[in-house]
Symmetry: C2
Subunit: 363 residues, 2 copies
DNA sequence: TTGTAAGCGTTATCAG
DNA sequence: CTGATAACGCTTACAA
């Protein structure tokens, strides 16, 4: 904003018309007819001068900034934020809007500060995103601004939200293992009591039950969601003779630890042990050997959906806030090389389960 | 921006003064004295009404938007973007500014579109960032806007830039290995001919030479910078009897591959083989076992420095653009468990090199 | 110490 | 079909 830019006034002068006319032609005002000749004159002038309308002035006048705010809890530590933001950005840009990004670091103090800064700038709406699926408390300042929650829910607030379909994810994971023929399964779940932990376990169990698995053929243990946690849990799980032949890990990092445990135990993946992860953190899922089959989290899609939703809300105006839409998005399973049929020694002649994956992608 | 917010006019009415006075007290205009009583009256009114100044109007008037744009090439695939943005955001917020984030996906088309969108919004300046250190071509539209390059250089443009100090990184890596007592070193470099590849090799060699290493005690090979590349290179490197006892890897992902090669060869890390990586991608450097000692890339710092720089440029005005400052930032070495003295079998009684790490952090 | 009024760059209403 | 002109919400000479 340092050097003065070309204004509509200069274009008008150059074209020898009034600024009104310039505005008319440049905005293609419906119902306003302008002579073809003057139209080209104006367009030429604008082009020649390199005129770019000043959004600030436009927004001031139209009460619409075509700008949205993205407030995330931690943008730097996980690779997730980028995908969500990209999804948001893509749909925003399609509407000539752009997005302010701020990161709170989980500090209420700075969150308030940042939201204030966004509001001051008259953002049309706000995307409030968590980096992991959880219930959140809505900052009070957002009560009167179009808002949608990403990876977060806030009961009673009437604010739309979108989260991953955890149950479906658990089902898909079980499905992958069952389809490969496994009949002795384990799930290393997150110790933390969060929606993802509940949902994935529910889905995993449900799908296993549907396949007729006995209770004692499905073990569920909990661990810290890092490689060390996975390692410890796997050592325990794999110590017994009737060890599981397929393990579903709460996330990919944790899965790294079970890879290590398996290696130490002389268990080959996938011949002796099949593993499925969660998150599809490319850097680990692709980096590990053999590649990790895993369930992807729909970050981009959540960002995109939320933004569509936000614009709908903005366009609907402050009037009726109809039943706030909410959505669970299912992520795809990414097949790599960590799943194979169980070796004969452990699961002789088991029949394969038919795949369930043909169900439609979105819950 | 949907519902009409409180304006300065309403505050004035509520306080029973003119809008001028409100402006004066709220902005603490220097040299303007206002009666203590009216000051509190105004402040009360503002608080009561929940007044928040409209930045758009302010900007229009003051020709300063307190807004900067961040254009990155890919924001979603690497975990780096988040850190750079966070650095930028932190210093921006300290100046009551906020940042628009856009990602180009390496497509000129969308880059132009996005930059236009930013300019239209009168950003005060632009941060142009690459996710890996490289020379770039400056989009022409940025020629007349305060700009600073992050992780990128553009010779002849006169635009300030900040990049990692690759040479120092290479030196530090060598230093870690030499200090541990290693005398047979290898560097698995990136096949791509990029500044990081040149710089790190230069630094690594220089430091090794300084330690008196012979040429044949330092092998340099190239590979794709992924686990597979590292694996292949390591297999080759470790096949010989006079294998290196310490390997420096161009990056952490590649290092994952050498971990695997070592495991297959029955070489223990760090007892039989020491490894140092680059990037400090926590998820792999911490996830791998034993933890990977690595050189961190100063993403946050680059983002922060660039933003300081940008504000300086903005405040200096469009007048003199003095010798554009440029900076190489050295990243810290993150010590974990992948480096130890070479085992006796291979390097009997070698003396330890004194550490070089005490040198100041910034080049 | 406080207020009037101009103007930042647009859009929109209403006359010509 | 085209053009004055009044907002939009704010800062800032300049007056009172």
């Amino acid at each position: 904003m340092t050097q003065r830019r070309v204004t509509i006034k200069q274009v008008a002068a150059e074209a020898g018309v009034s600024i009104t006319t310039v505005s008319h032609v440049l905005n293609d005002v419906p119902g306003k007819r302008v002579h073809p000749d003057t139209r080209v004159r104006v367009e030429d002038a604008a082009r020649r001068l390199g005129y770019v309308p000043n959004s600030l002035a436009q927004s001031l006048r139209t009460q619409r900034s075509n700008t949205i705010g993205f407030v995330g809890d931690e943008i730097a530590t996980t690779p997730f934020a980028g995908k969500i933001i990209l999804g948001a950005q893509d749909v925003a840009l399609a509407r000539d809007a752009v997005v302010f990004v701020v990161s709170t670091g989980y500090q209420r103090e700075v969150e308030n500060r940042e939201i204030e800064e966004l509001l001051r700038r008259q953002v049309d709406g706000i995307l409030y995103a968590s980096m992991y699926h959880r219930p959140v408390e809505l900052p009070p300042q957002l009560a009167s601004v179009p808002t949608v929650l990403i990876n977060a829910t806030c009961t009673g607030s009437g604010v739309p939200w979108v989260v991953p379909d955890e149950v479906a994810g658990g089902e898909d994971a079980a499905d992958v293992l069952l389809t490969a023929g496994h009949r002795r399964l384990a799930f290393i779940n997150d110790v933390d009591e969060i929606p993802a932990a509940f949902g994935r376990e529910e889905g995993f169990r449900r799908r296993a039950a549907r396949a007729g698995l006995h209770d004692d053929d499905l073990r569920v243990v909990t661990a810290e969601t890092d490689p060390a946690g996975g390692y410890a849990a796997a050592r325990q799980l794999l110590a017994h003779a009737d060890r599981p032949t397929g393990i579903f890990c709460f996330n990919d990092r944790l899965a790294m630890g079970v890879y290590r445990a398996a290696a130490e135990l002389g268990l080959r993946i996938p011949e002796d042990l099949s593993i499925v992860g969660f998150d599809n953190q490319e850097i680990v899922a692709e980096g590990v050997h053999p590649g990790l089959t895993t369930i992807e989290l729909p970050h981009y899609e959540m960002g995109a959906w939320a933004t569509e939703q936000l614009f709908d809300q903005i366009e609907a105006g402050p009037g009726a806030r109809p039943a706030a839409p909410a959505r669970k998005l299912r992520g795809p399973v990414i097949h790599r090389a960590s799943v194979a049929p169980p070796s004969r020694g452990h699961d002789p002649g088991e029949r394969r389960e038919p795949s369930d994956l043909a169900r439609q992608r979105q819950a």
